[in-house]
Symmetry: C2
Subunit: 190 residues, 2 copies
């Protein structure tokens, strides 16, 4: 995407998050977002199918980046290492979008229809990751399980990251993988 | 619930699954389900808020049973053992409902709105399980992660079980927990 178009896209995302936060999601129109971002409505709809998708465009990009990393991982790497590598690969992307994440979370949490959309998108992401693992020759049920377990780790890392702005994401990822180890093999207990 | 009421409920579930399978979910009405089950529409709506919920009533029962098992687990049990015990506790319930599970899956898979509902119900189940773990004194983020990892194992066990009618569910659960071990500590690889 050309630089100007990328800038306009960012302005629209910021404008949308601001308006959703100030006035509520339902009360905000695509026209208002476009006006605040200094673009035409037509430009808005060239970038997003509707105002709701402004909130979910990041997930599409994340999904594509994870898939590409999984595709490129060395053939003999175990699944967990493939996923760990993929999460490390998308860390800069997630860091770049950090400033959008917090307002986005608040907007979604305030609207049941958006929560449903978020849940559906998350399930779709698990399906995409499972599909990418399957292409590496892993059986469907096993790939689906690995995708879910892996995304639970990523989700936990993001929870830790959102809870503490000062901690780098890669540290949160390491801690989330340790949490998985501890879940599977509880230390000092039967 | 009294025995007669339980019988009627089962008849309605079976009638609904048969009609959804034969005629499609959208083409089936609550009145048709009631008629086939030999009950009045009024009785149908005493048991289910709408025809869709016939497909999801089992998840409510599962959710309540898991919560109760987690609540009763010994205080010093590690999270994974609490969940393993809870899954074992609901195994008879899942076995009793096995004959509903396969037609149900096909009906849901054929209808995007039902898939969305299924995904939302699954997310709600993860929230309920996380809440039950939190009541045991586990921090929210850690409980949410354990719930997701645990339900991924349960989901994998059910996948294995649905794929092979001859295998008992407890065997599939054991295999799914082994799969988690193998995911976390891949054998014979770096």
């Amino acid at each position: 995407m050309p630089r100007n178009s990328e800038d306009a896209r960012h302005r629209m995302i910021i404008a949308a998050l601001e308006l959703f936060t100030q006035n509520g999601f339902d009360q905000t129109t695509a026209a208002q977002i476009a006006a605040r971002a200094g673009v035409t409505e037509r430009t808005f709809f060239r970038h997003f199918p509707d105002k709701r998708e402004v909130l979910f465009v990041g997930q599409e990009i994340l999904s594509a980046a994870l898939t590409e990393s999984i595709r490129q991982a060395p053939a003999d790497l175990p699944q967990i290492a493939v996923l760990r590598r993929a999460f490390a690969d998308v860390t800069p992307l997630l860091e770049d979008n950090r400033r959008f994440s917090e307002p986005r979370q608040h907007i979604i949490a305030a609207n049941p229809a958006l929560i449903e959309r978020e849940v559906a998108k998350h399930a779709a992401l698990a399906g995409v990751v499972a599909g990418a693992l399957q292409k590496r020759g892993i059986a469907p049920a096993r790939a689906a399980f690995a995708a879910q377990a892996g995304l639970a780790v990523l989700g936990h890392a993001l929870d830790l990251w959102f809870a503490n702005a000062a901690r780098p994401l890669d540290q949160c990822l390491a801690e989330a993988f340790e949490e998985l180890d501890l879940f599977v093999t509880p230390v000092g207990r039967s």
